[in-house]
């Protein structure tokens, strides 16, 4: 029986009204920027809803995947750095790479040496020794290479390829990291997986932040080229609108693909696995393999969305990926919108991001009032860093939103429509 999607329409109308009000207040340039960023977040949220809503995978390392994908985009799409290619760097890096490949090959060969009858304890010891030597050798070559590159050229630069190739490559990097992580963590219970993904995100960030030769580290890389003409050519409103439409098309394509996949036998199997893992396993489904697929696809989408988000900002700054503000903002989008419901997720992303953006001036305004009232009534002297403190209010509110949604509406605003399948 088909009923009118009243709930969806009401929520959508509310969102449109909210956005319109903001547009009229802050002007189109800022408004379009907000929408473009919200759209990028929506892509990331779709990736997360696949992992959490469809497969029940607990990924709290979102910023690691986003940062890696953004780095991938920089590596492919940033203009070529001639100083690097003409210097000694490429040769040294080449040798480092050769060392790495040889070392890994030897280590793997030793770890497989049971086939020629090497006993297990000895094999284990030899493998560890080989791995340690490989590590030391690679580190020993990489360090001088890194300092030569930093001295000669600053950092390796990019390849100057079109930015959409960069996005795809970034997404692929994130997917690859997801594959590695998934192989390790998917068999674990959810809390362990959360801890593990949190850890990997910290490590990726530590690497990107400290590998100056590769990423310029805290010096940041900018500007990352856009897939559409930049504000310098078209002006803010037109170029940002063009960017917004690129991301919007991406969302539509993703949405259609996901809806179709979800209705297919493959999607049915995924739901079966999520709802009753034991039964699905008993029916001969390879549960962990299916979940690995979900994890990789989800991370690919997260990566592409993240790359688009960072490209829009035009600056790659490894120290700007904050787990607290960003990762859990995306989580709120997914849980509030309705995990496992694509439309709900997109809606949640837009709503939460709009509210998030507006919460900054709102919090500042609120605290200014408190300061004034407090001063008038009690002679209260506000601390000097009140503005930075006021912004922390937003972190508190994200947390509160998570707690309240989970408590009051665990399915979100647009809960997943559970189909009954006999």
């Amino acid at each position: 029986m088909k009923t009118l999607p009243v709930r969806e329409l009401v929520l959508l109308a509310g969102l449109v009204a909210l956005v319109a009000a903001i547009f009229s207040r802050v002007g189109p340039a800022f408004g379009v920027r907000m929408l473009a960023e919200a759209a990028c977040y929506a892509v990331i949220a779709l990736g997360l809803t696949i992992q959490w809503g469809y497969a029940g995978l607990f990924n709290v390392g979102l910023m690691g995947f986003v940062a890696l994908a953004a780095f991938g985009t920089v590596l492919l799409s940033y203009p070529v750095n001639q100083a690097f290619w003409q210097g000694a760097g490429p040769g040294m890096l080449g040798w480092t790479f050769v060392t790495l490949v040889v070392g890994v090959a030897i280590t793997i060969a030793i770890s497989r040496s049971d086939r020629i009858g090497v006993p297990k304890p000895l094999r284990m010891a030899l493998t560890l020794v080989a791995a340690a030597i490989t590590y030391l050798a690679v580190q020993g070559q990489l360090d001088p290479a890194a300092s030569v590159i930093e001295r000669e050229a600053g950092f390796v630069g990019g390849l100057g390829l079109p930015v959409w190739i960069g996005w795809a490559f970034g997404g692929a990097l994130a997917g690859l990291l997801g594959w590695v992580m998934g192989r390790i963590t998917l068999g674990l219970r959810a809390d362990y997986m959360a801890i593990a993904t949190l850890g990997i995100a910290e490590i990726v960030k530590a690497f990107l932040k400290n590998a100056d030769w590769l990423t310029r580290g805290t010096l940041t890389v900018s500007p990352i080229p856009w897939p559409v003409p930049t504000p310098a050519d078209l002006g803010f409103v037109a170029s940002r609108s063009a960017y917004l439409s690129v991301v919007a098309i991406m969302i539509v394509v993703l949405y259609v693909l996901l809806q179709r996949a979800w209705a297919s036998p493959w999607g049915r199997m995924m739901r079966a696995i999520r709802d009753n893992e034991t039964a699905a396993a008993a029916m001969g489904k390879d549960v962990n393999r299916r979940r690995l697929e979900m994890f990789i696809i989800g991370n690919f989408i997260i990566g592409v969305g993240g790359a688009a988000l960072i490209t829009f900002a035009t600056i790659f700054d490894p120290s700007s990926f904050m787990p607290l503000n960003h990762t859990f903002l995306i989580w709120v989008m997914v849980i509030l919108g309705g995990a496992g419901n694509n439309l709900g997720t997109i809606f949640g992303a837009l709503l939460v991001y709009v509210v998030w953006t507006m919460s900054e001036p709102a919090a500042l305004f609120l605290f200014r009032q408190i300061e004034v009232i407090g001063g008038d009534l009690f002679g209260w002297q506000a601390p000097g860093d009140l503005a930075t403190r006021a912004l922390q209010m937003r972190v508190f509110v994200i947390g509160l939103a998570i707690v309240l949604v989970l408590r009051l509406a665990p399915g979100g605003l647009l809960p997943e429509k559970r189909m009954r399948y006999e």
Partner: protein
């Protein structure tokens, strides 16, 4: 070789450096991780979810100590110990009550509604954000000292001929406190009625209920202990270095690693795990070249010992607990101490 001769041959300065920068530093971070990990492991054993805001619970405890410090700046001078340490029992009590309060307001209703463990974990992440935001809101993002002017940051030196073994007063107090906490916890869990009931609930909650054990009381006691130990760890950490809100997020990964290494639900395992993670982390970034340098005269000319030999560059310290964590999760998900310690 006679004793005296051995001593002159041994590179004493280098050894002392190793003790100062390796052993003592490892013991300190290990003790702090242990104090946190015991709470995480108890909560996991009783309530069955990973308590993400535990690092913030530690910071909260330290901030309670800071508030007390502002209120009673003279308390330390009266006893001759750092003021924050003298006021620590009050801060521990406050944090314990705070932890119970959070359970009452947030976790308990979810428990009664029958939420799944994953939802509890997500809720705990929400609580983590609320606490992080709250702490920064009230205390700002800056760095603070947990000392009042009257406090002396005593430094003890144990002379050994050349370089001295150096240990500061807060470090010494931390060791004493950790050992006292371990003993108290042991006596509580094995001797007291409530301690045994906690272990019983961790073992078999259904049977505990059938025996007439009030799960509510056990849960409350768990939060009291976890909160008090978190406050102790957080305050001592802030005394040893400084107090800043970012403390908590950096510390949660090693604490989880310690709890999992020790086998979740096993307090003694958590203590051992904390020390293990602390030592590994410290020794991984320790500059071994200092210890190898005395060997230089013995080596042929063409081998030169580099100025810096570490297993892991200092910037990547966070990688260490993570790899310990992964290694344990892959090879021994039950923790390395299961079966040996009976708890």
């Amino acid at each position: 070789m006679p004793e005296a001769g051995l001593l002159t041959v041994l590179p004493m300065n280098e050894l002392v450096f190793f003790i100062n920068k390796g052993i003592i530093a490892g013991l300190i971070s290990g003790s702090i991780y242990a104090l946190g990990a015991v709470g995480v492991t108890l909560i996991f054993g009783i309530l069955r979810f990973a308590h993400f805001p535990h690092g913030d619970m530690m910071t909260t405890g330290a901030f309670f100590a800071l508030v007390l410090l502002v209120l009673f700046p003279g308390a330390g001078a009266a006893v001759g110990l750092p003021t924050a340490f003298v006021l620590l029992p009050i801060a521990m009590a406050m944090t314990a009550v705070f932890a119970v309060g959070i359970d009452r307001v947030i976790y308990r209703p979810m428990r009664l509604a029958g939420s799944r463990p994953v939802v509890m974990v997500m809720t705990s992440i929400g609580v983590m954000l609320m606490m992080q935001g709250g702490i920064r809101l009230f205390a700002g993002t800056g760095t603070r000292q947990l000392y009042v002017a009257a406090d002396s940051k005593d430094i003890y030196r144990i002379p050994l001929g050349g370089r001295d073994i150096v240990i500061t007063e807060p470090q010494l107090l931390l060791f004493v406190l950790t050992i006292a906490a371990v003993i108290a916890l042991h006596l509580f869990l094995t001797r007291s009625r409530m301690g045994k009931a906690m272990r019983a609930v961790a073992d078999n909650p259904d049977l505990a209920r059938v025996s007439g054990i009030s799960i509510d009381h056990v849960v409350r006691t768990t939060w009291l202990i976890a909160g008090a130990l978190a406050a102790a760890g957080g305050t001592m950490l802030a005394l040893d270095v400084t107090l800043k809100p970012d403390l908590s997020f950096n510390i949660i990964l090693p604490i989880f690693a310690a709890a999992i290494v020790g086998g979740v639900g096993q307090p003694y395992g958590a203590i051992a795990g904390g020390l293990l993670v602390g030592f590994t982390e410290t020794l991984a970034v320790f500059n071994w070249s200092v210890l190898l340098r005395p060997l230089q005269p013995l080596l042929p000319e063409f081998i030169e010992i580099p100025g810096r030999i570490t297993f892991v560059p200092t910037e990547y310290k966070i990688v260490v607990p993570f790899f310990i964590l992964l290694a344990v999760l892959i090879w021994r998900p039950t923790g390395i101490f299961r079966g040996r310690l009976n708890l």
